[in-house]
C-alpha cells in the first residue's frame, strides 16, 4: 500500500466527481463539466475513466480492466496495477465476477447484470466535435436539440458511400433527447447499451466531461428508415473458440499475409474454450 488516499484521489475530489456522476445519471447522455485532475498517467490514456473509477470504488469492489476487450493489453495492465496499488481492491478477469469494469473501446460480450458499473474511457466526448470544432457552438446545439448537422453528415455518407461510413464511436440518441458519443467502441457494441441492466459511466479527463447511462436507458443508434443501423463485425467465426456472435480481431500470422480471426474479448474466448468450444485453429482445452 502507498501513502496515497484510497484509490489515489482525495475525498473532496471524489465527492466533486460523484456529484458530476449523479448529475449525469439524472440527465442521461448530457455531458457534465467537471474539474478533472492531473493524474499520474497521461491525458488520453484513460484519466477520465480512472477518475470515475476512483470515485466509485469501495474496498469491497471487484475490479476488471480491459483495453480493446483484453485484460492483458499494456494499458489495461497499467491501470489495473494502479488501483491494486492505491486501492488494494480485488481484481478479476471474469466479467461476471466484476462489480466494476473499466474499459477502453469495448463492451464485454457476456451479458452485464444489475449492480455492475461499466466505466468507459472517452477521448472526445462531443459527438458533434468533428462537425463543429467549437465547444461554445456544440453546447448550444445540444441545448437547442439541434442535431440537423449530424443527420446531414450521415446522409452525405450514404450519398457518397452507399452507407453510413462510421464504424466506431457511432453516435446514439439517449432517451430521445441527447445525441451521445459512446466512446470509440465498434458499432457492433452499440446495441449492448440499449436497456442495459448495468450502470454505464463515461469519463473524459482531458476534455473534463462526465456522462452516464443509468440502467435500462433507451439508447438508439442514429440511422434512417431506409438505411437501418447494422451492428457489423468481420464475417468469420473465432478461430480459437468458434464463436460466431462475437467481435473479432484480425491477426496477421505470417509473411504471406495469412490471417486469423480471434475474439477481441479475451475472457469470453477463454470461458468458451474451457467449456469445450474449439475453433478452426484452436486446440481442445
Amino acid at each position: 500500500m502507498s501513502d496515497y488516499n484510497f484509490a489515489y484521489l482525495d475525498e473532496e475530489t471524489k465527492r466533486m466527481i460523484r456529484r458530476a456522476i449523479l448529475k449525469g445519471v439524472a440527465i442521461p447522455g448530457y455531458q457534465v463539466p467537471f474539474a478533472s485532475r492531473e493524474m499520474p498517467m497521461p491525458y488520453g490514456w484513460g484519466t477520465g475513466g480512472v477518475q470515475v473509477t476512483a470515485a466509485c470504488l469501495t474496498p469491497e469492489d471487484v475490479l476488471k480492466v480491459i483495453d480493446q476487450g483484453a485484460d492483458d493489453t499494456t494499458n489495461a495492465v497499467s491501470i489495473r496495477k494502479f488501483f491494486q496499488r492505491t486501492a488494494g481492491v480485488e481484481v478479476t478477469e471474469a466479467t461476471a465476477e466484476a462489480s466494476l469494469i473499466q474499459t477502453r473501446h469495448r463492451i464485454p460480450e457476456a451479458a452485464l447484470t444489475e449492480g455492475q458499473i461499466v466505466v468507459f474511457q472517452v477521448p472526445i466526448p462531443e459527438p458533434l466535435r468533428f462537425l463543429e470544432p467549437r465547444e461554445t457552438e456544440t453546447r448550444k446545439m445540444h441545448e437547442l436539440e439541434e442535431y440537423g448537422l449530424m443527420h446531414v453528415k450521415l446522409y452525405e455518407d450514404i450519398a457518397r458511400h452507399g452507407q453510413i461510413a462510421t464504424a466506431y464511436a457511432y453516435p446514439v440518441k439517449v432517451e430521445g433527447r441527447y445525441v451521445m458519443d459512446p466512446s470509440p467502441i465498434p458499432k457492433f457494441d452499440n446495441p449492448k447499451m440499449d436497456g442495459s441492466p448495468a450502470l454505464m459511466l463515461f469519463g473524459a479527463g482531458r476534455e473534463q466531461r462526465i456522462y452516464a447511462l443509468p440502467p435500462y436507458t433507451k439508447v438508439v443508434s442514429l440511422d434512417f428508415e431506409d438505411h437501418p443501423f447494422v451492428a457489423s463485425k468481420a464475417d468469420h467465426d473465432c478461430d480459437l473458440c468458434g464463436a460466431s456472435d462475437t467481435y473479432l480481431d484480425e491477426v496477421i500470422v505470417d509473411d504471406q499475409g495469412g490471417r486469423m480471426f480471434v475474439c477481441s474479448d479475451t475472457d469470453h474466448c477463454r470461458c468458451r474454450r474451457e467449456a469445450g468450444h474449439v475453433g478452426r485453429l484452436g486446440v481442445a482445452a
Partner: protein, 362 residues
C-alpha cells in the same frame, strides 16, 4: 497457436527497468545531483516550475533528473504531484511593484526611475560555443558591490498618469481556479492569464510570434520587463493579519500596445500582461503579446480571424500536458477501432469495384 498480446505485465516491468538503467547512463560517469540541476540548469528548472504551476526548485530539479531532461515529462511529474497536495488557503496578491529586481529593462524610455538594470541575461552574449566549459574550471565570479534595494515603480504608471494608457479596472474579485473548476468559455482575463501562465512555452511563443508577423498584429513595446523576488504573504484566519510565508522569484512583462481607439474608447495605448514563476523572459513576453491579442472583444477591436485572437483555440491547446498525453495516446493499441474501419473500407471498396466492373461491362 497464436497467443494474443499475452505478457503485457512482464513487458511493462522490463521496460521500466530498462528505462531506469538508461536514465543513469554510463555508470563510469559521475551521477548528476539534484542540487547540480537546480543550480546549473536553473532555466530548465524555471520552466518546469512555471508550466508545472508549482514553485519548488528542488522538486523541479528532481523531476528533470527523473525525466532524463525531458522538460514536458518533468512538468507532468510536477503536475501529477501537485494535484495530491492539500490546499491550506490562498496567499494575498503579490505586489510586483515592491519586487527586489535583479533585472529590469524598459524599451519605451531611455531611462526611468529605478534605472535600467540588465542583470544576468543572454541578450548581448555572442552565441559562440565556449569550449572552456568542457573542462572543469574555477567558478566564475562577477564583479559587484552591494547596493541598497531601490524603489522601482512600474513604467506603465508614468503613462497612466497622463491618461495615455488604458486604466486597468481594479477588482478584488477572487479569480477563478483552472485547476479546481472546468474551464468554461468565454473566460475572463484572469482565467486566460492563468491558462497562459501554465501554457507551453513553445506554443505561447508561436502564438505571440504570429501576432508580430501580422496575424492580429498589434505592435507591442516592452514597456517593462522585470525579474526579481517578491514576498508572499498570507492571512492566517486565527491571527487575523497577514504573515510573510516566503518569497518567490517572478518575471513580469508589461507591454504597451498601439490602439487607434474605438466607438467607446479614445485613442490611447493598451496593455498586455505576462507573469511567470522565476526567470522566464521569453515566456512572460510571449504571454503579454497573446494576452493583448485575446483582448480584442473588450477593447472593441475587429476579430481578424487570427488564431491568436481565438480564445477557444488558444486556451484549449496551450497546455502541453493535455496535448502531449492525447498526442501520444495514439501509440496505444487501437486494433478494435481499426478492425471496424478495415471492414468498412473493404465493404465500400468491394461495392465501388463491383460498380466499376458493371459500368465497364455495359
Amino acid at each position: 497457436m497464436y497467443v494474443a498480446v499475452k505478457g503485457g505485465e512482464r513487458a511493462i516491468d522490463n521496460a521500466h527497468a530498462w528505462l531506469a538503467e538508461e536514465r543513469r547512463g554510463d555508470p563510469a560517469v559521475p551521477e548528476l545531483g539534484v542540487a547540480q540541476i537546480r543550480e546549473q540548469l536553473a532555466l530548465s528548472v524555471n520552466r518546469v516550475m512555471a508550466e508545472g504551476s508549482l514553485y519548488d526548485p528542488d522538486l523541479a530539479a528532481l523531476a528533470i533528473k527523473q525525466a532524463r531532461g525531458d522538460l514536458i515529462e518533468a512538468v507532468f511529474l510536477i503536475r501529477a504531484y501537485r494535484t495530491t497536495l492539500p490546499r491550506f488557503g490562498a496567499s494575498r496578491p503579490v505586489d510586483t511593484a515592491a519586487m527586489d529586481c535583479l533585472r529590469r529593462v524598459s524599451a519605451t524610455f531611455k531611462d526611468v526611475p529605478g534605472g535600467q538594470v540588465l542583470g544576468p541575461t543572454f541578450d548581448y552574449t555572442h552565441r559562440l560555443l565556449d569550449f572552456k566549459l568542457m573542462a572543469e574550471g574555477k567558478a566564475p565570479v562577477a564583479p559587484g558591490e552591494p547596493v541598497e534595494p531601490a524603489h522601482v515603480p512600474h513604467v506603465t504608471g508614468f503613462l497612466n498618469r497622463d491618461g495615455l494608457i488604458e486604466q486597468e479596472p481594479v477588482s478584488d474579485e477572487a479569480p477563478g481556479d483552472l485547476t479546481r473548476e472546468p474551464l468554461e468559455l468565454p473566460a475572463n482575463r484572469a482565467l486566460r492569464l492563468q491558462s497562459l501562465a501554465r501554457g507551453d512555452e513553445g506554443f505561447v511563443l508561436g502564438m505571440a510570434y504570429s501576432t508580430q508577423r501580422g496575424y492580429a498584429r498589434n505592435h507591442a513595446f516592452v514597456g517593462e520587463l522585470r525579474i526579481g523576488t517578491c514576498c508572499v504573504s498570507m492571512e492566517i484566519p486565527e491571527l487575523s493579519f497577514a504573515v510573510e510565508i516566503g518569497e518567490v522569484e517572478l518575471t513580469e512583462c508589461e507591454t504597451v500596445n498601439q490602439f487607434k481607439g474605438s466607438k467607446t474608447e479614445p485613442p490611447q495605448f493598451t496593455r498586455g500582461y505576462g507573469l511567470t514563476f522565476a526567470q522566464n523572459e521569453r515566456k512572460a513576453i510571449s504571454m503579454a503579446l497573446v494576452d493583448r491579442a485575446l483582448r480584442w472583444r473588450e477593447l472593441g477591436e475587429d476579430n481578424s480571424g487570427a488564431a491568436a485572437q481565438d480564445e477557444e483555440f488558444v486556451l484549449m491547446h496551450s497546455d502541453n500536458i493535455q496535448a502531449t498525453g492525447f498526442l501520444e495516446h495514439i501509440k496505444l493499441p487501437h486494433y478494435v477501432d481499426f478492425q471496424s474501419e478495415l471492414e468498412l473500407v473493404r465493404k465500400i471498396r468491394a461495392e465501388a469495384m463491383k460498380a466499376n466492373e458493371e459500368a465497364a461491362d455495359v
